[in-house]
């Protein structure tokens, strides 16, 4: 079949282009690794920065209790400048400044924060742990000499059993969060399939500039064969990208992808969307430079709006609604259903994605056909 041989030519061209191979295959892997290694395991404690240049004995007690607090993740700072910087950036929920004994401990909260309650509650919980013996001594000293009070208090502390806090949890952790690469692999795959699909538009524009398109009109069914082959090769490259990244995720990182009957159609339809989007872009822009100039920002913006760079659950409902104009958002919704809720085929999302795929493919073929016939 001539379509397949056209596809094969494009396929070979891709493999000869080492840079394209790098950005299509290696780059997503690098990003997944970085995300997984840098961000895995966060989110179960409040980050707090501690500044304690010269704590007294009481302060030391407080600091060790702070480290042991289950609700706080403590980072030590050497000066207020870095501490305040990280608080302003939102890297910390707040700061705790521990002066020498006798002065008040200061909880620093960000200027814009409306919700420092949890932080204060956790710190207050720690404060309570430190005072036990001192308060007992203080109360007793009103009645008996200091030394005797201290002796009694020490003995009491040693003998009275402590009140423990036991914990049990209900429900299960979402599968995506259980594995530090679990959400990075599907999201970055969606991002890079689209980004690389769009950048491939540049190569398409070059073919236009070289007049290859118009020449295909000379052969019988020439244009159809050429476009078919082109689309097939782009789709094939997207599938290769998916196979490598997902394969790596499952085999090396042991992530859970859910039921294959659910995610395979998802990846296939999304691959068609990316190939068609790239071909449509290639038909619209006029120079390879323009193609890259539009492809990269568009890939990033769609990736952001669609929830591949951060989950849409953290943004406002308005942004979430805007995001659902992108196919990425629907794809990420589908991944969530398939992986976290084990729901099998995500019917509604797949229907929407199918519509995207069909519309984009039709537009791409129409635009390229028009160019071949009219040169515009």
């Amino acid at each position: 079949m001539r379509t397949l041989s056209t596809a094969r030519v494009e396929w070979v061209r891709f493999f000869r282009d080492r840079i394209a191979m790098f950005s299509t295959i290696a780059m997503p892997i690098v990003v997944v690794l970085l995300i997984g290694l840098s961000f895995g395991g966060a989110g179960d404690r409040l980050g707090v920065g501690v500044l304690a240049p010269a704590p007294g004995p009481l302060g030391q007690q407080f600091l060790s209790a702070l480290e042991r607090s289950p609700g706080l993740e403590v980072t030590t700072y050497a000066d207020t400048r870095d501490l305040y910087r990280d608080i302003r950036m939102g890297l910390l929920s707040g700061g705790v400044e521990v002066p020498p004994d006798g002065q008040a401990v200061r909880i620093d909260v960000p200027q814009t924060s409306q919700d420092y309650g949890p932080l204060v509650a956790a710190v207050n919980g720690v404060v309570a742990q430190v005072g036990t013996r001192a308060i007992a001594v203080q109360v007793l000293s009103a009645y008996v000499p200091q030394a005797k009070a201290e002796q009694a208090a020490a003995a009491a502390e040693a003998s009275v059993p402590s009140l423990e806090v036991t914990t049990r949890t209900v429900g299960a952790v979402s599968a995506m969060d259980a594995n530090r690469f679990g959400s990075a692999v599907p999201s970055q795959l969606m991002l890079f399939m689209f980004l690389n699909g769009l950048i491939a538009a540049a190569a398409l524009v070059q073919a236009r500039e070289l007049g290859v398109f118009r020449r295909t009109l000379a052969a019988p069914q020439g244009l159809r064969v050429y476009l078919g082959g082109l689309g097939a090769s782009r789709f094939g490259i997207a599938m290769l990208q998916a196979a490598i990244l997902l394969g790596l995720g499952v085999l090396s990182f042991r992530i859970d992808l859910g039921a294959p009957s659910a995610w395979v159609p998802l990846v296939v339809v999304y691959g068609v969307i990316c190939a068609a989007a790239g071909m449509l872009l290639g038909a619209i822009v006029r120079t390879p430079g323009q193609a890259v100039a539009v492809a990269i920002p568009m890939g990033i913006v769609f990736g952001m709006l669609g929830g591949t760079m951060w989950p849409l659950s953290v943004v406002s409902p308005v942004m979430r609604a805007i995001g659902h104009f992108t196919p990425q958002a629907w794809a990420m919704d589908a991944w969530n259903l398939i992986i976290n809720e084990g729901s099998g085929f995500a019917t509604r999302q797949m229907a929407v994605l199918l519509v995207y795929a069909v519309v984009l493919s039709v537009l791409a073929l129409w635009a390229l056909g028009r160019h071949a016939r009219t040169g515009r």
């Binding site: 401990v105 620093d108 200027q111 919700d115 309570a128 299960a172 990033i300």
Partner: protein
């Protein structure tokens, strides 16, 4: 010669500004992306937890504890009484509470007798943060109760006449550690992080094209025409370098001014910001000239530019910040990472120009060094 340098630079700048794809990449893209990020995260991350208090014990002590907890809520944390302790699991599943603090039956008695006892926290696996906060609160409660018990035991040992009064006093005494709350003045705009990061990513492409124009003009013949006149090769090379510097500094400054003045995202002390912009552009220009110098064909230069731009952007922290681990080290080795660190110092740490001077000098050094190598190779290759 300097007149020729200026003429060549001026023509190059004019042609660049007329090129729509350059305008898109240098101005529209970074601003658009920064706006999207700003819209997504402008409100700042919020934490909130609703913690249920289940009193399975019917003593005065537990009633007192439950009362003080439900009064103690603050911004972002709320305590509510669980009406049906038997339904705790179901209520957690339904999301009515993020975690539940249980005062188990027999707690009050144990407190008075000095026996061992537990407080229980029940959390949702999907809400680890609320669970751990509830644990901290429970530890606080346990600590307060323990203070009373220890005081009681010590009072008994010391032979105090009225142990109850002593306990009461212990409960009323403030912790030796006083706690103050303060606000950290000054805000940080997420836009002010993403705008320069994205601007730098795209500048690699924009400046790359400018650097490559030296080779492109050789192919088109205009370079020879210039050299056939009374113009020295050095003037051409310096002119092109000036061209890319001007385009880079102007476009990044426009991104800065628009995100600052129109969207309220301050990047920090203006003098410092401008110097970092110049230094960052110098580094990017140097790398682009280096790439153009060592590449064998224009296509190779183009491809190398794309790869370097994306790699440096990802490693330099353009797409996310606040990471721990290997990323932090890698960031230091990219010009993007160094520049973003300087920008963060200016905007979030409210640093002065003097404090970021080392980074500025480092970026300038990279720029000048790589530009020198690139220009020298180009001089030999292109202008023979």
């Amino acid at each position: 010669m300097w007149r020729h340098v200026w003429l060549i630079a001026r023509l190059g700048v004019r042609r660049s500004l007329r090129d729509r794809s350059i305008l898109i990449m240098a101005l529209v893209a970074p601003i658009a992306i920064a706006v999207v990020v700003g819209a997504a995260f402008g409100g700042g991350a919020s934490v909130s937890a609703t913690i249920g208090v289940a009193n399975e014990d019917r003593s005065d002590i537990s009633a007192q504890i439950a009362q003080s907890l439900t009064n103690a809520g603050g911004d972002g944390i709320a305590f509510a009484t669980v009406s049906e302790p038997a339904q705790i699991d179901a209520l957690l599943d339904a999301g009515t509470y993020d975690a539940v603090l249980v005062l188990p039956a027999g707690l009050g008695d144990a407190v008075l007798t000095g026996d061992a006892a537990d407080l229980e926290v029940v959390g949702r696996a999907a809400e680890p943060l609320a669970t751990s906060i509830a644990q901290s609160v429970a530890q606080g409660v346990a600590a307060n109760l323990q203070t009373a018990r220890v005081t009681a035991a010590a009072a008994t040992t010391a032979g105090l006449p009225d142990v109850g009064a002593a306990v009461q006093k212990a409960v009323e005494t403030q912790s030796p550690i006083a706690v103050d709350q303060g606000q950290v003045q000054g805000t940080f705009s997420v836009m002010a992080y993403f705008a320069p990061g994205m601007a730098m990513l795209f500048l690699f492409f924009v400046i790359g094209e400018g650097a490559r124009s030296i080779v492109a003009e050789r192919r088109e013949g205009t370079l020879q025409r210039i050299l056939a006149g009374p113009v020295s090769p050095s003037a051409v090379l310096l002119g092109k370098t000036a061209q890319v510097m001007i385009v880079g500094v102007v476009s990044m400054s426009v991104v800065w001014l628009i995100t600052w003045l129109a969207f309220g995202a301050s990047w920090g002390d203006p003098l410092g910001v401008f110097l970092v912009i110049v230094a960052a552009v110098a580094a990017i220009a140097g790398i682009s000239l280096f790439i153009t110098g060592i590449a064998r064909t224009e296509n190779q230069a183009d491809a190398l530019t794309t790869m370097v731009a994306l790699l440096f952007a990802i490693l330099g922290g353009t797409f996310f910040y606040g990471a721990a681990g290997p990323l932090v080290t890698m960031q230091k080795f990219t010009p993007n990472g160094q520049a973003l660190a300087a920008f963060v110092e200016l905007s979030a740490a409210q640093a002065t120009v003097v404090e970021i001077a080392p980074r500025i000098l480092l970026l300038l050094g990279i720029g000048i060094g790589m530009a020198a190598v690139g220009l020298l190779t180009m001089r030999n290759k292109v202008l023979a």
